[in-house]
Symmetry: C2
Subunit: 219 residues, 2 copies
DNA sequence: TTTAATTGTTAGGTGAGTCTAACAATGTAG
DNA sequence: CTACATTGTTAGACTCACCTAACAATTAAA
Protein backbone atom coordinates (compact mmCIF):
# COMPACT_ATOMS: atom_id res chain seq x y z
CA UNK A 1 0.00 0.00 0.00
CA UNK A 2 1.06 3.54 -0.70
CA UNK A 3 2.53 5.51 2.18
CA UNK A 4 0.87 8.52 3.67
CA UNK A 5 3.28 10.68 1.67
CA UNK A 6 2.69 8.91 -1.62
CA UNK A 7 -1.05 9.22 -1.11
CA UNK A 8 -0.64 12.97 -0.71
CA UNK A 9 1.41 13.26 -3.88
CA UNK A 10 -1.17 11.28 -5.82
CA UNK A 11 -4.00 13.38 -4.48
CA UNK A 12 -2.19 16.59 -5.40
CA UNK A 13 -1.41 15.29 -8.89
CA UNK A 14 -5.04 14.37 -9.34
CA UNK A 15 -6.32 17.76 -8.16
CA UNK A 16 -3.83 19.77 -10.20
CA UNK A 17 -4.46 17.75 -13.35
CA UNK A 18 -8.16 18.53 -13.05
CA UNK A 19 -7.48 22.21 -12.46
CA UNK A 20 -4.75 23.01 -14.91
CA UNK A 21 -4.21 19.98 -17.10
CA UNK A 22 -0.43 20.03 -17.37
CA UNK A 23 1.32 19.51 -14.05
CA UNK A 24 4.94 20.50 -13.58
CA UNK A 25 7.37 19.88 -10.78
CA UNK A 26 6.92 23.45 -9.56
CA UNK A 27 3.14 23.17 -9.39
CA UNK A 28 3.42 20.17 -7.12
CA UNK A 29 6.18 21.82 -5.14
CA UNK A 30 3.94 24.82 -4.45
CA UNK A 31 0.83 22.78 -3.80
CA UNK A 32 2.49 20.44 -1.31
CA UNK A 33 4.84 23.03 0.19
CA UNK A 34 7.80 20.81 -0.51
CA UNK A 35 11.03 21.74 -2.31
CA UNK A 36 11.40 21.11 -6.02
CA UNK A 37 14.25 18.63 -5.59
CA UNK A 38 12.06 16.64 -3.22
CA UNK A 39 9.29 16.53 -5.79
CA UNK A 40 11.79 15.60 -8.44
CA UNK A 41 12.98 12.67 -6.36
CA UNK A 42 9.48 11.55 -5.58
CA UNK A 43 8.52 11.77 -9.25
CA UNK A 44 11.25 9.26 -10.04
CA UNK A 45 10.03 6.98 -7.27
CA UNK A 46 6.41 7.19 -8.40
CA UNK A 47 7.48 6.47 -11.95
CA UNK A 48 9.38 3.45 -10.65
CA UNK A 49 6.21 2.21 -8.98
CA UNK A 50 4.17 2.74 -12.13
CA UNK A 51 2.00 5.56 -10.81
CA UNK A 52 3.49 8.17 -13.08
CA UNK A 53 4.98 8.69 -16.50
CA UNK A 54 7.95 10.96 -16.10
CA UNK A 55 10.52 12.20 -18.59
CA UNK A 56 13.08 14.85 -17.82
CA UNK A 57 11.83 18.39 -18.29
CA UNK A 58 8.40 17.09 -19.36
CA UNK A 59 5.14 17.55 -17.45
CA UNK A 60 4.08 14.79 -15.07
CA UNK A 61 1.34 12.42 -16.20
CA UNK A 62 -0.50 9.97 -13.98
CA UNK A 63 -0.77 6.48 -15.45
CA UNK A 64 -4.05 4.56 -15.32
CA UNK A 65 -2.79 2.91 -12.15
CA UNK A 66 -1.88 6.30 -10.72
CA UNK A 67 -5.24 7.80 -11.58
CA UNK A 68 -7.07 4.96 -9.93
CA UNK A 69 -4.94 5.08 -6.79
CA UNK A 70 -5.41 8.85 -6.61
CA UNK A 71 -9.16 8.60 -7.12
CA UNK A 72 -9.40 6.10 -4.30
CA UNK A 73 -7.63 8.48 -1.94
CA UNK A 74 -9.98 11.26 -3.03
CA UNK A 75 -12.85 8.85 -2.44
CA UNK A 76 -11.73 8.25 1.14
CA UNK A 77 -11.36 11.99 1.67
CA UNK A 78 -14.76 12.93 0.31
CA UNK A 79 -16.63 10.07 1.96
CA UNK A 80 -15.09 11.14 5.23
CA UNK A 81 -16.19 14.74 4.69
CA UNK A 82 -19.70 13.56 3.94
CA UNK A 83 -19.73 11.36 7.02
CA UNK A 84 -18.43 14.16 9.23
CA UNK A 85 -21.19 16.48 8.06
CA UNK A 86 -24.09 14.04 7.84
CA UNK A 87 -23.43 11.73 10.77
CA UNK A 88 -21.28 13.74 13.12
CA UNK A 89 -22.76 17.18 12.78
CA UNK A 90 -19.72 19.12 11.63
CA UNK A 91 -20.07 22.19 9.40
CA UNK A 92 -18.88 22.05 5.79
CA UNK A 93 -16.15 24.50 6.71
CA UNK A 94 -14.74 22.25 9.46
CA UNK A 95 -14.36 18.94 7.73
CA UNK A 96 -11.45 19.38 5.33
CA UNK A 97 -8.62 19.27 7.87
CA UNK A 98 -10.05 16.29 9.70
CA UNK A 99 -10.66 14.38 6.46
CA UNK A 100 -7.11 15.22 5.40
CA UNK A 101 -5.97 12.92 8.19
CA UNK A 102 -8.67 10.29 8.24
CA UNK A 103 -8.22 9.68 4.50
CA UNK A 104 -4.93 7.88 5.23
CA UNK A 105 -6.52 5.17 7.32
CA UNK A 106 -6.05 1.75 5.73
CA UNK A 107 -9.30 -0.04 6.52
CA UNK A 108 -11.64 -0.46 3.57
CA UNK A 109 -14.46 -1.63 5.84
CA UNK A 110 -14.33 1.68 7.68
CA UNK A 111 -14.98 3.70 4.53
CA UNK A 112 -17.49 1.21 3.16
CA UNK A 113 -19.49 1.61 6.36
CA UNK A 114 -19.35 5.39 6.12
CA UNK A 115 -20.57 5.15 2.53
CA UNK A 116 -23.49 2.99 3.63
CA UNK A 117 -24.40 5.17 6.60
CA UNK A 118 -24.59 8.33 4.52
CA UNK A 119 -26.54 6.56 1.77
CA UNK A 120 -23.96 6.10 -0.99
CA UNK A 121 -23.61 9.78 -1.90
CA UNK A 122 -22.24 10.89 -5.28
CA UNK A 123 -20.98 14.29 -4.17
CA UNK A 124 -19.33 15.58 -1.02
CA UNK A 125 -20.55 18.48 1.15
CA UNK A 126 -18.91 20.95 -1.24
CA UNK A 127 -20.49 19.46 -4.33
CA UNK A 128 -17.35 17.68 -5.51
CA UNK A 129 -17.95 14.23 -7.00
CA UNK A 130 -17.03 11.16 -4.96
CA UNK A 131 -15.17 8.58 -7.07
CA UNK A 132 -16.68 5.09 -6.92
CA UNK A 133 -14.95 2.06 -5.41
CA UNK A 134 -13.31 1.30 -8.78
CA UNK A 135 -11.85 4.79 -8.98
CA UNK A 136 -14.21 6.12 -11.65
CA UNK A 137 -15.08 9.78 -11.33
CA UNK A 138 -18.40 11.08 -12.52
CA UNK A 139 -18.06 14.37 -14.39
CA UNK A 140 -20.47 16.99 -13.17
CA UNK A 141 -22.19 19.14 -15.73
CA UNK A 142 -21.60 22.68 -14.55
CA UNK A 143 -20.07 26.06 -15.34
CA UNK A 144 -18.62 28.93 -13.37
CA UNK A 145 -21.16 31.48 -12.24
CA UNK A 146 -18.77 34.12 -13.58
CA UNK A 147 -19.37 32.78 -17.10
CA UNK A 148 -23.13 33.27 -16.91
CA UNK A 149 -24.73 36.19 -18.63
CA UNK A 150 -27.40 38.56 -17.38
CA UNK A 151 -30.77 36.86 -17.23
CA UNK A 152 -29.43 33.35 -16.51
CA UNK A 153 -31.24 31.33 -13.91
CA UNK A 154 -28.91 28.83 -12.26
CA UNK A 155 -28.49 26.73 -9.13
CA UNK A 156 -25.33 26.15 -7.12
CA UNK A 157 -24.00 22.60 -7.53
CA UNK A 158 -20.39 22.87 -6.38
CA UNK A 159 -17.32 24.92 -5.60
CA UNK A 160 -13.92 25.01 -7.21
CA UNK A 161 -10.96 25.14 -4.82
CA UNK A 162 -13.14 25.52 -1.76
CA UNK A 163 -11.16 27.01 1.08
CA UNK A 164 -12.13 27.55 4.68
CA UNK A 165 -12.43 31.29 4.08
CA UNK A 166 -14.66 30.85 1.03
CA UNK A 167 -16.92 28.49 2.98
CA UNK A 168 -17.14 30.89 5.87
CA UNK A 169 -17.96 33.71 3.46
CA UNK A 170 -20.76 31.70 1.86
CA UNK A 171 -22.12 30.69 5.26
CA UNK A 172 -22.20 34.31 6.38
CA UNK A 173 -24.22 35.21 3.27
CA UNK A 174 -26.63 32.35 3.79
CA UNK A 175 -25.55 30.52 0.65
CA UNK A 176 -25.60 26.73 0.38
CA UNK A 177 -25.56 24.06 -2.32
CA UNK A 178 -28.82 23.89 -4.28
CA UNK A 179 -29.70 27.55 -3.88
CA UNK A 180 -30.87 29.37 -7.00
CA UNK A 181 -29.48 32.55 -8.50
CA UNK A 182 -30.98 34.83 -11.11
CA UNK A 183 -28.23 36.96 -12.68
CA UNK A 184 -29.41 40.57 -12.69
CA UNK A 185 -26.31 42.55 -13.65
CA UNK A 186 -22.63 42.13 -14.43
CA UNK A 187 -20.38 45.09 -13.72
CA UNK A 188 -18.11 45.55 -16.74
CA UNK A 189 -15.39 47.27 -14.73
CA UNK A 190 -14.51 44.50 -12.24
CA UNK A 191 -16.76 41.65 -13.28
CA UNK A 192 -18.72 41.67 -10.05
CA UNK A 193 -22.23 40.27 -10.39
CA UNK A 194 -25.57 41.11 -8.83
CA UNK A 195 -27.98 38.25 -8.42
CA UNK A 196 -31.38 37.53 -6.97
CA UNK A 197 -30.62 34.85 -4.36
CA UNK A 198 -33.33 32.23 -3.73
CA UNK A 199 -35.80 34.47 -5.50
CA UNK A 200 -35.73 36.72 -2.48
CA UNK A 201 -32.88 39.13 -2.12
CA UNK A 202 -30.34 40.87 -4.33
CA UNK A 203 -26.70 40.16 -3.50
CA UNK A 204 -23.53 41.39 -5.19
CA UNK A 205 -20.38 39.25 -5.35
CA UNK A 206 -16.91 39.96 -6.66
CA UNK A 207 -15.54 38.16 -9.70
CA UNK A 208 -13.23 36.25 -7.38
CA UNK A 209 -16.20 34.73 -5.60
CA UNK A 210 -18.20 34.09 -8.79
CA UNK A 211 -15.30 32.18 -10.34
CA UNK A 212 -15.45 29.74 -7.45
CA UNK A 213 -19.16 29.02 -7.68
CA UNK A 214 -20.07 26.13 -9.98
CA UNK A 215 -23.64 26.29 -11.22
CA UNK A 216 -26.07 24.44 -13.44
CA UNK A 217 -28.68 26.10 -15.62
CA UNK A 218 -32.10 25.80 -14.06
CA UNK A 219 -34.59 23.60 -15.89
CA UNK B 1 2.87 16.67 18.87
CA UNK B 2 4.15 13.17 19.17
CA UNK B 3 4.66 11.20 15.98
CA UNK B 4 2.68 8.13 15.07
CA UNK B 5 5.65 6.03 16.21
CA UNK B 6 6.07 7.80 19.52
CA UNK B 7 2.36 7.42 20.21
CA UNK B 8 2.70 3.69 19.69
CA UNK B 9 5.65 3.43 22.05
CA UNK B 10 3.76 5.39 24.71
CA UNK B 11 0.70 3.22 24.32
CA UNK B 12 2.77 0.05 24.62
CA UNK B 13 4.58 1.37 27.68
CA UNK B 14 1.26 2.23 29.25
CA UNK B 15 -0.26 -1.16 28.52
CA UNK B 16 2.76 -3.13 29.68
CA UNK B 17 3.12 -1.11 32.86
CA UNK B 18 -0.49 -1.96 33.75
CA UNK B 19 0.05 -5.62 32.97
CA UNK B 20 3.42 -6.41 34.43
CA UNK B 21 4.58 -3.35 36.37
CA UNK B 22 8.25 -3.32 35.42
CA UNK B 23 8.85 -2.78 31.72
CA UNK B 24 12.17 -3.74 30.15
CA UNK B 25 13.58 -3.08 26.71
CA UNK B 26 12.84 -6.67 25.68
CA UNK B 27 9.20 -6.45 26.71
CA UNK B 28 8.69 -3.45 24.47
CA UNK B 29 10.73 -5.06 21.73
CA UNK B 30 8.43 -8.09 21.76
CA UNK B 31 5.23 -6.12 22.14
CA UNK B 32 5.98 -3.74 19.27
CA UNK B 33 7.78 -6.30 17.10
CA UNK B 34 10.78 -4.02 16.82
CA UNK B 35 14.42 -4.89 17.52
CA UNK B 36 15.94 -4.24 20.91
CA UNK B 37 18.46 -1.70 19.60
CA UNK B 38 15.59 0.23 18.06
CA UNK B 39 13.76 0.30 21.36
CA UNK B 40 16.96 1.29 23.10
CA UNK B 41 17.39 4.24 20.78
CA UNK B 42 13.79 5.29 21.12
CA UNK B 43 14.05 5.05 24.91
CA UNK B 44 16.84 7.63 24.81
CA UNK B 45 14.77 9.88 22.57
CA UNK B 46 11.69 9.60 24.78
CA UNK B 47 13.82 10.36 27.82
CA UNK B 48 15.16 13.40 25.98
CA UNK B 49 11.60 14.59 25.40
CA UNK B 50 10.66 14.02 29.04
CA UNK B 51 8.25 11.17 28.45
CA UNK B 52 10.42 8.59 30.13
CA UNK B 53 12.92 8.10 32.92
CA UNK B 54 15.64 5.89 31.60
CA UNK B 55 18.88 4.68 33.17
CA UNK B 56 21.11 2.10 31.61
CA UNK B 57 20.13 -1.47 32.46
CA UNK B 58 17.19 -0.23 34.53
CA UNK B 59 13.51 -0.76 33.75
CA UNK B 60 11.72 1.99 31.83
CA UNK B 61 9.42 4.31 33.76
CA UNK B 62 6.94 6.73 32.22
CA UNK B 63 7.10 10.22 33.74
CA UNK B 64 3.90 12.08 34.65
CA UNK B 65 4.08 13.75 31.25
CA UNK B 66 4.57 10.38 29.59
CA UNK B 67 1.67 8.82 31.47
CA UNK B 68 -0.65 11.61 30.48
CA UNK B 69 0.40 11.52 26.84
CA UNK B 70 -0.04 7.74 26.78
CA UNK B 71 -3.44 7.93 28.45
CA UNK B 72 -4.60 10.42 25.84
CA UNK B 73 -3.63 8.06 23.03
CA UNK B 74 -5.46 5.24 24.80
CA UNK B 75 -8.41 7.61 25.16
CA UNK B 76 -8.48 8.20 21.40
CA UNK B 77 -8.22 4.48 20.76
CA UNK B 78 -11.01 3.48 23.11
CA UNK B 79 -13.35 6.30 22.15
CA UNK B 80 -12.88 5.24 18.55
CA UNK B 81 -13.71 1.64 19.40
CA UNK B 82 -16.82 2.74 21.21
CA UNK B 83 -17.85 4.92 18.31
CA UNK B 84 -17.26 2.15 15.79
CA UNK B 85 -19.48 -0.21 17.76
CA UNK B 86 -22.21 2.16 18.88
CA UNK B 87 -22.53 4.48 15.90
CA UNK B 88 -21.19 2.52 12.99
CA UNK B 89 -22.44 -0.96 13.80
CA UNK B 90 -19.16 -2.84 13.91
CA UNK B 91 -18.70 -5.90 16.11
CA UNK B 92 -16.45 -5.74 19.17
CA UNK B 93 -14.11 -8.15 17.41
CA UNK B 94 -13.67 -5.88 14.38
CA UNK B 95 -12.83 -2.55 15.93
CA UNK B 96 -9.32 -2.93 17.29
CA UNK B 97 -7.42 -2.77 14.00
CA UNK B 98 -9.40 0.18 12.72
CA UNK B 99 -9.01 2.08 15.99
CA UNK B 100 -5.29 1.32 15.89
CA UNK B 101 -5.11 3.63 12.89
CA UNK B 102 -7.75 6.20 13.69
CA UNK B 103 -6.16 6.83 17.10
CA UNK B 104 -3.31 8.70 15.40
CA UNK B 105 -5.53 11.38 13.91
CA UNK B 106 -4.64 14.80 15.28
CA UNK B 107 -8.00 16.53 15.56
CA UNK B 108 -9.31 16.91 19.10
CA UNK B 109 -12.72 18.03 17.82
CA UNK B 110 -13.12 14.71 16.03
CA UNK B 111 -12.72 12.69 19.21
CA UNK B 112 -14.72 15.13 21.29
CA UNK B 113 -17.59 14.70 18.89
CA UNK B 114 -17.33 10.91 19.07
CA UNK B 115 -17.36 11.14 22.84
CA UNK B 116 -20.52 13.24 22.72
CA UNK B 117 -22.27 11.04 20.18
CA UNK B 118 -21.74 7.88 22.21
CA UNK B 119 -22.78 9.60 25.43
CA UNK B 120 -19.45 10.13 27.24
CA UNK B 121 -18.76 6.48 27.98
CA UNK B 122 -16.39 5.40 30.77
CA UNK B 123 -15.49 2.02 29.31
CA UNK B 124 -14.88 0.74 25.77
CA UNK B 125 -16.65 -2.20 24.10
CA UNK B 126 -14.28 -4.63 25.84
CA UNK B 127 -14.86 -3.16 29.28
CA UNK B 128 -11.55 -1.29 29.43
CA UNK B 129 -11.73 2.14 31.04
CA UNK B 130 -11.55 5.22 28.83
CA UNK B 131 -9.16 7.83 30.27
CA UNK B 132 -10.71 11.30 30.61
CA UNK B 133 -9.59 14.36 28.65
CA UNK B 134 -6.99 15.15 31.34
CA UNK B 135 -5.49 11.69 31.06
CA UNK B 136 -6.88 10.33 34.32
CA UNK B 137 -7.73 6.66 34.30
CA UNK B 138 -10.49 5.28 36.43
CA UNK B 139 -9.51 2.02 38.11
CA UNK B 140 -12.11 -0.68 37.68
CA UNK B 141 -12.92 -2.89 40.65
CA UNK B 142 -12.65 -6.40 39.31
CA UNK B 143 -10.91 -9.76 39.54
CA UNK B 144 -10.09 -12.59 37.19
CA UNK B 145 -12.80 -15.21 36.89
CA UNK B 146 -10.06 -17.80 37.40
CA UNK B 147 -9.57 -16.47 40.94
CA UNK B 148 -13.17 -17.05 41.93
CA UNK B 149 -14.11 -20.03 44.02
CA UNK B 150 -16.99 -22.43 43.65
CA UNK B 151 -20.28 -20.80 44.56
CA UNK B 152 -19.29 -17.27 43.50
CA UNK B 153 -21.87 -15.26 41.60
CA UNK B 154 -20.23 -12.72 39.36
CA UNK B 155 -20.84 -10.61 36.27
CA UNK B 156 -18.47 -9.97 33.37
CA UNK B 157 -17.15 -6.40 33.40
CA UNK B 158 -14.10 -6.59 31.16
CA UNK B 159 -11.36 -8.58 29.46
CA UNK B 160 -7.64 -8.60 29.93
CA UNK B 161 -5.57 -8.66 26.73
CA UNK B 162 -8.58 -9.09 24.51
CA UNK B 163 -7.56 -10.53 21.16
CA UNK B 164 -9.60 -11.08 18.04
CA UNK B 165 -9.63 -14.83 18.68
CA UNK B 166 -10.80 -14.44 22.27
CA UNK B 167 -13.61 -12.12 21.15
CA UNK B 168 -14.69 -14.53 18.46
CA UNK B 169 -14.64 -17.35 20.98
CA UNK B 170 -16.84 -15.41 23.39
CA UNK B 171 -19.21 -14.43 20.58
CA UNK B 172 -19.59 -18.03 19.52
CA UNK B 173 -20.49 -18.97 23.08
CA UNK B 174 -23.00 -16.15 23.38
CA UNK B 175 -21.03 -14.32 26.02
CA UNK B 176 -21.07 -10.53 26.33
CA UNK B 177 -20.23 -7.86 28.91
CA UNK B 178 -22.71 -7.77 31.78
CA UNK B 179 -23.60 -11.44 31.65
CA UNK B 180 -23.71 -13.30 34.96
CA UNK B 181 -21.89 -16.46 35.93
CA UNK B 182 -22.42 -18.76 38.86
CA UNK B 183 -19.30 -20.85 39.47
CA UNK B 184 -20.32 -24.48 39.82
CA UNK B 185 -17.07 -26.39 39.73
CA UNK B 186 -13.32 -25.93 39.35
CA UNK B 187 -11.36 -28.83 37.92
CA UNK B 188 -8.25 -29.27 40.10
CA UNK B 189 -6.27 -30.93 37.31
CA UNK B 190 -6.26 -28.16 34.71
CA UNK B 191 -8.10 -25.29 36.39
CA UNK B 192 -11.00 -25.37 33.95
CA UNK B 193 -14.25 -24.04 35.38
CA UNK B 194 -17.89 -24.94 34.93
CA UNK B 195 -20.37 -22.12 35.32
CA UNK B 196 -24.06 -21.46 35.02
CA UNK B 197 -24.21 -18.77 32.32
CA UNK B 198 -27.04 -16.21 32.59
CA UNK B 199 -28.79 -18.51 35.02
CA UNK B 200 -29.62 -20.78 32.11
CA UNK B 201 -26.96 -23.13 30.87
CA UNK B 202 -23.83 -24.81 32.17
CA UNK B 203 -20.64 -23.99 30.25
CA UNK B 204 -17.09 -25.15 30.85
CA UNK B 205 -14.09 -22.96 30.03
CA UNK B 206 -10.37 -23.59 30.18
CA UNK B 207 -8.15 -21.79 32.66
CA UNK B 208 -6.71 -19.82 29.75
CA UNK B 209 -10.12 -18.35 29.02
CA UNK B 210 -11.04 -17.77 32.67
CA UNK B 211 -7.84 -15.80 33.24
CA UNK B 212 -8.91 -13.36 30.58
CA UNK B 213 -12.38 -12.69 31.97
CA UNK B 214 -12.57 -9.83 34.45
CA UNK B 215 -15.57 -10.08 36.74
CA UNK B 216 -17.22 -8.28 39.63
CA UNK B 217 -18.98 -9.99 42.50
CA UNK B 218 -22.72 -9.76 42.08
CA UNK B 219 -24.58 -7.61 44.65
C1' DT C 1 18.97 36.46 -30.84
C1' DT C 2 21.06 37.36 -26.85
C1' DT C 3 19.41 38.08 -22.11
C1' DA C 4 16.80 37.19 -18.29
C1' DA C 5 13.42 34.59 -15.72
C1' DT C 6 11.48 30.42 -14.81
C1' DT C 7 11.70 25.70 -14.24
C1' DG C 8 14.05 21.36 -13.56
C1' DT C 9 18.15 18.65 -12.11
C1' DT C 10 22.24 17.01 -9.59
C1' DA C 11 24.97 16.56 -5.64
C1' DG C 12 25.38 16.13 -1.03
C1' DG C 13 23.41 16.16 3.71
C1' DT C 14 19.90 15.64 7.68
C1' DG C 15 16.73 13.25 10.84
C1' DA C 16 13.51 9.63 12.07
C1' DG C 17 13.04 5.06 12.54
C1' DT C 18 14.54 0.78 11.44
C1' DC C 19 17.96 -3.27 11.05
C1' DT C 20 22.14 -6.82 12.05
C1' DA C 21 26.38 -8.16 14.23
C1' DA C 22 29.07 -8.01 18.03
C1' DC C 23 29.84 -7.23 22.74
C1' DA C 24 28.81 -6.08 27.79
C1' DA C 25 26.11 -6.37 31.93
C1' DT C 26 22.97 -8.76 34.78
C1' DG C 27 20.68 -12.63 36.72
C1' DT C 28 20.10 -17.67 37.54
C1' DA C 29 21.59 -22.52 38.10
C1' DG C 30 24.54 -25.77 39.27
C1' DC D 1 31.44 -19.05 42.66
C1' DT D 2 31.83 -20.02 38.16
C1' DA D 3 29.05 -20.83 33.83
C1' DC D 4 25.35 -19.99 30.98
C1' DA D 5 21.27 -17.59 29.52
C1' DT D 6 18.99 -13.53 29.32
C1' DT D 7 18.89 -8.82 28.66
C1' DG D 8 20.79 -4.48 27.27
C1' DT D 9 24.20 -1.71 24.65
C1' DT D 10 27.24 0.03 20.98
C1' DA D 11 28.55 0.52 16.34
C1' DG D 12 27.49 0.88 11.75
C1' DA D 13 24.35 0.83 7.94
C1' DC D 14 19.85 1.25 5.41
C1' DT D 15 15.40 3.58 3.68
C1' DC D 16 12.24 7.29 3.31
C1' DA D 17 11.29 11.81 2.88
C1' DC D 18 13.03 15.94 3.34
C1' DC D 19 16.46 20.02 2.79
C1' DT D 20 20.06 23.72 0.51
C1' DA D 21 23.35 25.16 -2.86
C1' DA D 22 24.70 25.10 -7.29
C1' DC D 23 24.03 24.31 -12.03
C1' DA D 24 21.49 23.21 -16.52
C1' DA D 25 17.58 23.43 -19.62
C1' DT D 26 13.63 25.69 -21.33
C1' DT D 27 10.78 29.53 -22.24
C1' DA D 28 9.80 34.46 -22.58
C1' DA D 29 11.18 39.11 -23.28
C1' DA D 30 13.90 42.78 -25.12
Amino acid sequence: MASHTVENYLKALFALANEVGEVGISDLSDHLAVSKPSVNGMAKALQQDGFLKYEKYKPLKLTAKGKKAAALVVRKHRLTEMFLVEQMGFGWDEVHDIAEQVEHVKAPAFFDRMDELVGFPTVDPHGSPIPDAQGNVLEIDCMKLSECSVGSKVSLVGLSQSSKSLLTFLDSHGIALGHTFHVRAVEPFDGSMTMLHKGAQDQTFSLKVCERLLVKREA
